[in-house]
């Protein structure tokens, strides 16, 4: 009887495990004992690989034989800003090829910042009979030919989401490759496509998919087509409109307005390129139920934005251009009490002078009025420590705070001091902060604050900041939960990196570009730390053609079980045990 009490049958355990979904919990389960490890690995259905080079496909497949959903990420985040040269890597084909053999029942593939080819898409289309979900976020390397293969072959496709990917040579005909018998679509996001899609094919597709909930159109869909599409999908919950501009005509207006009113379930709007303000009232009737509004491509000026947001009392997320100005943000603070996430993007990021009246005051207003605010991305041209302190005190529950003062090294414009104290207040008061991006004039002191207080911080982005290695040391030493650190143009060199080498194995990755890390230090790290890949990215030529003390251009360090990768282009060198021989 004692023996029975000690172990539950496998089936029971497996049933219990089926309620556990988070990767963290599943990892914990698998470490309890060998038999739990075994049971767990056979019933894990969903895997997330945050860095596609941290493991290789065969390791994953060997451990988890029955996977249905895979999420992979490739290039480092700074690739979004052109800091990673083309050809660096992130090719997904080897993964798909391996999974085509191992996971015939794979249903979902989500990729971020990876290079996807038409060949890859064709392989997906013919390998997975029950394929349902394809999400390509910030990916590149494929064309509408690949999409046509997906459309033609994936009979059970539910979601096709191309968010912010770069699709080559788009032509609209791929959409017609969805057969007439295809009706399973739930979510379609083609907002990143440059060319027109075939409109009648689009309308027909929308009309025959009764479960369609999300439809994000691209800029090439004109306003007068929108009404037809909406009328065929009144059940839509999320809509991305195309170009929101046309000659102002009452018949067109009432057509659009009527179509919008018919969509009683709409909760999320996006798109809205080239807005003609006269057509905005067409969406007023649905504003009160909107929870998410992405107007970050919409050239709407602040009076119209004020009219709009003051009707969106249920709004939880707003992405908008800085045309909203301080005055619009005050209206937001007054009317949108449920706001949780705010992103304000620059309309003229490269202009020398401000083109709008958006200052630190706008963000302060929102922090005062919106008590649930916890996620902020804010581009502006001026800031003060006082404003940051106020924001920190108003929003102790902040989890993501990214501030970008457009001119590097801008001081507090009133006191002319560095912004150390302001950001210090943020990390001190916001104890749940997981993500932070710094900007403005900053000394080593801000990093001391961060190392001391930001104990839950997982991702930190730093640019044009700090005085010495002490800054980097504070962060590596103090931020216990740090997973991703990305740094550019800071005076950080070898010391802090070498002194905290072991820390690097506890993180997903470290990016340093235009800093002072020497080639010699990279070699040393490569030699001593076999479980890290130390990648030197330098377009000036082989690093050993310069003195060892010469700083490298870019450095990308990540932990890995897969060893050095074999798909590196000519301007990337991995430092490993052999590099001493190779480079001497």
């Amino acid at each position: 009887m004692l023996r029975m009490a000690r172990s539950l049958p496998e089936e029971v355990l497996e049933h219990v495990f089926s309620f556990i979904h988070s990767d963290k919990d599943r990892n914990a389960i698998s470490m309890v004992c060998k038999s739990w490890y075994e049971i767990e690995r056979w019933c894990r259905r969903r895997i997330f690989v945050g860095n596609c080079y941290a493991v290789n496909p065969s390791m994953v497949i060997r451990r988890f034989p029955e996977v249905r959903s895979v999420e992979l990420k490739g290039k480092p985040h700074f690739a979004d800003f052109n800091l990673v040269p083309d050809g660096w890597g992130g090719y997904v084909y080897p993964w798909i090829a391996a999974m085509a053999n191992a996971y015939p029942w794979l249903e979902e593939i989500s990729l971020k910042r990876m290079v996807v080819t038409d060949e890859t898409l064709e392989l997906i289309a013919k390998s997975f009979k029950n394929f349902k979900v394809l999400v390509l976020s910030s990916c590149e390397g494929f064309s509408t030919d690949g999409l046509a293969a997906i459309a033609a072959n994936c009979r059970n496709l539910r979601q096709l989401d191309l968010r912010e990917s770069e699709v080559d040579d788009p032509s609209g005909h791929w959409l017609s490759h969805f057969p007439d018998s295809f009706t399973s679509l739930v979510s379609l996001n083609i907002s990143c496509l440059g060319s027109e899609v075939n409109f009648s094919a689009l309308e027909h597709l929308v009309g025959r998919c009764p479960n369609l909930r999300t439809l994000r159109l691209n800029r090439a869909v004109p306003l007068d087509r929108l009404a037809n599409i909406l009328r065929r999908a009144p059940q839509l919950v999320e809509l991305g409109a195309g170009t929101y501009s046309a000659e102002l005509r009452p018949d067109v207006f009432s057509s659009i307005a009527g179509a919008f009113s018919g969509c009683k379930e709409l909760k999320s709007l996006s798109g809205f390129w080239d807005v003609v303000p006269g057509y905005l009232p067409a969406i007023y009737p649905i504003c009160s139920s909107l929870t998410s509004l992405n107007l970050s491509y919409a050239t709407i000026q602040s009076p119209d934005l004020v009219k709009l947001v003051s009707q969106c009392q249920s709004l939880q997320r707003l992405w908008v251009l800085d045309y909203i100005e301080d005055i619009g943000l005050e209206a937001l603070a007054a009317f949108c009490k449920d706001l949780q996430e705010l992103r304000v993007f620059p309309s003229e990021p490269f202009a020398l002078e401000p083109n709008v009246s958006l200052t630190e005051q706008g963000l302060v207003s929102v922090s005062e009025g919106c008590l649930k605010l916890h996620s902020v991305l804010y581009f502006c041209r001026q800031m003060t420590n006082d404003a940051l302190v106020t924001i920190a005190r108003n929003c102790p529950k902040m989890t993501r705070f990214r501030l970008c003062i457009i001119e590097p090294r801008t001081s507090d414009y009133i006191t002319l001091q560095p912004l150390d104290d302001g950001f210090g207040a943020i990390v001190e008061h916001c104890k749940d902060l997981r993500r932070l991006s710094l900007s403005g004039l900053l000394t080593d002191r801000v990093f001391e604050y961060i190392g001391t207080h930001a104990k839950k911080l997982e991702m930190l982005s730093v640019a044009f900041a700090g005085d010495s290695d002490l800054g980097l040391h504070h962060v590596l030493y103090g931020c216990e939960n740090l997973r991703k650190l990305e740094i550019r143009d800071c005076p950080f060199g070898d010391k802090a990196l070498l002194a905290n080498a072991a820390k690097l194995e506890t993180m997903r990755s470290l990016w340093m570009s235009s800093c002072s890390v020497s080639f010699g230090a990279c070699k040393l790290l490569g030699q001593k730390m076999p479980r890290l890949n130390i990648e030197v990215i330098d377009e000036r030529g082989p690093p050993d053609s310069r003195p060892e003390s010469c700083p490298v251009e870019k450095l990308y360090i990540y932990r890995t079980l897969a060893g050095p990768r074999f798909d590196m282009p000519g301007f990337v060198w991995t430092m490993d045990e052999d590099s001493a021989l190779r480079f001497s």
Binding site: V60, G493, G520
Partner: protein, 251 residues
């Protein structure tokens, strides 16, 4: 998550007295000591490491005399000597705070000290690659509004009060060549004829000029259509071009 628990022993509360405030440059300190510092990698190994005296390796690289005077050993020599140290007491002794000498350099011209990204001109920026940090799709908004500003600027006489402090003239578009996986970018504001443009583009992709008729230049306009560059006047081309592609002439 596939990221495994690595379970390394990391310095935590067992470290006493790691008062970073005490690491302040004191020129009166023992000169001999400051020339030979201990850096401990957190696995408990202690490695003597000659400090260069400054933080910036780049600054050292610029001055060979400095290096030979301090008889800097190579990294490999320095790290071969290993001293036993208890694991729980990794020390971190900085050399003098490398601030004093650096301050002046840094304030003078930051970019010179580091392999700077500023030398490379990015898509549409004022000289700093990837700054401000916005994705390329968002750059297009300003690109379009700037193009219309450019058009306005052309129509207005010099000395117009509406003109911004600096006309942002650069106009980067992506260019691909048929059969080549990796694309490039080119600043169209530097050109005013198809001949010059094509000449440069072919050079970018390594096509020698004798074979210039091997490829034709096509472009995608603001409506998404692909056109032959030679079919339109330069002015229309510049105002509507979104991206370029070089295709083989045999088509």
């Amino acid at each position: 998550m596939m990221e495994l628990q690595l379970g390394l022993a990391l310095p935590t509360d067992t470290i006493k007295g790691l008062d970073l405030n005490s690491y302040v440059f004191d020129p009166n300190k023992d000169a001999a000591r400051s020339s030979r510092q201990l850096i401990i990698m957190n696995q408990g190994m202690v490695h003597p490491w000659l400090s260069t005296g400054t933080n910036s390796a780049a600054a050292a690289a610029e001055d060979d005399d400095f290096i030979s005077n301090h008889q800097k050993r190579s990294f490999y020599d320095a790290f071969e000597e290993i001293y036993d140290m208890p694991r729980t007491l990794p020390l971190l002794l900085w050399s003098k705070q490398p601030n004093e000498e650096e301050d002046d350099e840094r304030n003078k011209d930051h970019e010179k000290s580091f392999p700077s990204a500023s030398n490379k001109v990015d898509g549409a920026g004022d000289g700093i690659v990837g700054w401000p940090p916005i994705k390329f799709q968002r750059r297009k908004i300003s690109h379009r509004s700037r193009k219309s500003r450019m058009e306005n600027d052309r129509r207005v006489d010099n000395g117009c009060a509406d003109c911004h402090g600096r006309p942002s003239n650069s106009m980067y578009v992506k260019v691909k060549m048929e059969g080549v996986a990796i694309g490039r970018k080119i600043d169209l504001s530097l050109y005013n004829s198809f001949q010059a443009l094509k000449h440069t583009l072919l050079g970018m992709f390594g096509i020698c000029q004798e074979n210039s008729s091997s490829h034709k230049l096509t472009f995608q306009d603001s409506e998404g259509d692909w056109l032959l560059a030679d079919d339109v006047p330069w002015r229309s081309f510049i105002w509507s071009v979104q991206r370029l592609k070089l295709i083989r002439s045999s088509r």
